[in-house]
């Protein structure tokens, strides 16, 4: 089988070349390692951010307080108009009695204060609790609902939610920028490494051309060499991802600061991240070596 034979030969040559130019290969490998460690951190961060943004979004509720004199028909009408809103996921009604009972159960202080009020005097209101599909539109929806008839006020944890979401978004953007910059530096270093192996083997390449090796046969070992550099460079980041994340997860007991910010459970998450890191390493290596081959290997 000719293609397999040629591939085997290319892989063998690529490994030989990595070992022969080890000091140079080491420079590329360390650069890939550093890049991929940061890529790994970025991946872990963004997965976690995504996970707890979703978590928070799932818990995000608009609480609609009704006017005290709202009749049952009016309340039912209101429910209908909530159902017509595209972003509303679920609707739950809580009468003031239910709210009262809940609060009374929560603490003794509430219990004594609340039991002194009759239904007419009660400051509590009938409420609708609305869950939304898209948290970014929550403030717009809240404003809209406030204009409805029989709605006294609306609450959705305003500023805190908005700030949290925008903070997460900017964290993600910054990591992307850092990763892209590092990938560019790495590609540049790999181009230089492969350039030197090409010049070290220029005699061999010229003989290959003379005896009729096809272009792909000449190029393939260098491209594979870049991929090997990428793969070797991803070993440390993969170990870092797997063991580092497990240690991190165990240290914080699975959540950060409060129960709200839950971390993604390590399995199978770390395997997925490790695979992504490996693939990125190999692709970056390949891009670098393909660039060098195109630029410095005139065939």
């Amino acid at each position: 089988m000719k293609p397999f034979r040629m591939l085997g030969r290319s892989i063998r040559d690529a490994f030989k070349s990595v070992i022969r130019n080890f000091s140079l290969s080491l420079a590329s490998i360390s650069c890939i390692t550093i890049t991929l460690v940061i890529v790994a951190i970025a991946i872990i961060t963004s997965f976690n951010v995504e996970s707890f943004t979703k978590e928070i979004e799932r818990d995000l509720t608009i609480v609609v307080f009704l006017e005290n004199d709202t009749t049952e028909e009016e309340a039912a009408e209101l429910k209908k108009s909530f159902e017509d809103m595209p972003n509303v996921d679920s609707i739950e009604f809580e009468s003031k009695q239910q709210v009262k009972e809940q609060m009374q159960q929560e603490s003794d202080v509430f219990n004594t204060v609340l039991s002194e009020w009759s239904d007419e005097e009660s400051p509590l209101r009938d409420t609708y609790k609305l869950k939304v599909k898209d948290a970014t539109k929550i403030s717009k929806d809240a404003k809209e609902i406030k204009e409805f008839d029989n709605v006294s006020s609306v609450s959705y944890g305003e500023g805190m939610v908005d700030r949290m979401i925008s903070a997460f978004e900017s964290i993600e953007k910054i990591t992307y920028i850092v990763v892209i910059a590092l990938v560019l530096v790495t590609v540049f270093l790999i181009i230089n490494t492969i350039k030197l192996t090409i010049s070290a083997r220029s005699r061999e390449i010229s003989i290959m051309r003379l005896v009729g090796a096809s272009n792909i046969t000449i190029k393939l070992p260098f491209i594979i060499e870049g991929m090997i550099l990428g793969a070797i460079g991803s070993i440390v980041p993969i170990l870092f991802t797997t063991y580092g994340y497990i240690a991190f997860y165990n240290h914080f007991d699975g959540h950060l600061y409060s129960e709200v910010i839950r971390l993604v459970t390590p399995y199978p998450f770390i395997y997925q991240s490790a695979l992504i890191v490996l693939i990125i390493g190999i692709i970056v290596g390949m891009i670098g070596s393909a660039g060098a081959v195109r630029r410095y290997l005139k065939v």
């Binding site: 000719k2 293609p3 034979r5 040629m6 030969r9 005699r203 061999e204 010229s206 003989i207 290959m208 051309r209 003379l210 005896v211 009729g212 090796a213 096809s214 272009n215 046969t217 000449i218 065939v299």
Partner: protein
């Protein structure tokens, strides 16, 4: 039958120097041809155009049915597999043994292992180096190194063997050894050989076809020629 045909070939280098003017000739299959001429006569350029290291600026070159002048860079390997090339400076890989150097030519075109072994041993036997297959190039004399290069050039059974001053670095005795090897290949394998040289003794002794070039022009094409000083 003609293996090579040139029609109105002109080669002008990008620096403005014209190396070949309006050259037309045909070389028969199985023949042995010398290309002679002084420095700058265009003999190296002619050889280079035959293996498509250089492209002619005008005219047509046909080698074994391939239109070399119009061959794209990507397809050059197809031509190279049909011919063998030997240089003055041997061009061997110093870190590989004699066997590996010859096998290299077959490995890079993806020949199967068994075939490589068989063909390499035959080629090395043809050049008389079967007893040195495990030596490295620097353990061999110049003549032996050139024979390794010849073995590498013929290992793929090419129809055409191009030699650019193959004896240029060798003393007369070693040169004649090389010529014997080449003549043997020409006779036994039927390989067409074209050899550029300025070695008068060799040309006179071999009595082969001689193409004489002067300042890029064909001045003589003789069947059983000798080295004609006046023409050069």
């Amino acid at each position: 039958m003609d293996l090579i045909r040139l029609k109105n070939v002109e080669k002008k280098y990008s620096n403005g120097v014209t190396a070949i003017y309006n050259l037309s000739l045909a070389i028969e299959k199985g023949s042995f041809t010398f290309v002679i001429g002084g420095s700058g006569s265009g003999k190296s350029t002619l050889i280079k155009m035959l293996y498509r290291e250089e492209k002619p600026t005008k005219g047509q070159i046909i080698v074994g049915g391939l239109n070399v002048a119009k061959l794209r860079d990507r397809k050059v390997y197809k031509l190279r597999r049909k011919l063998g090339i030997v240089f003055q400076d041997y061009r061997l890989l110093p870190k590989q043994t004699v066997y590996e150097n010859v096998a290299f030519a077959l490995e890079v075109i993806g020949a199967p292992h068994d075939e490589i072994r068989k063909k390499v041993l035959v080629a090395l036997e043809d050049v008389g180096l079967k007893n040195k297959i495990h030596n490295y190039p620097d353990q061999l004399s110049g003549g032996e190194q050139q024979r390794v290069a010849i073995a590498r050039a013929i290992v793929n059974d090419p129809k055409l063997l191009l030699c650019d001053e193959p004896t240029g670095n060798l003393d007369p005795e070693k040169s004649m050894e090389i010529m014997k090897v080449l003549e043997d290949i020409n006779k036994r394998r039927g390989t067409t050989i074209i050899m550029a040289t300025h070695d008068k003794a060799i040309v006179d002794r071999m009595k082969k076809q001689v193409i004489t070039l002067k300042d890029g022009r064909l001045v003589n094409f003789k069947m059983k020629g000798t080295y004609n000083d006046e023409a050069i």
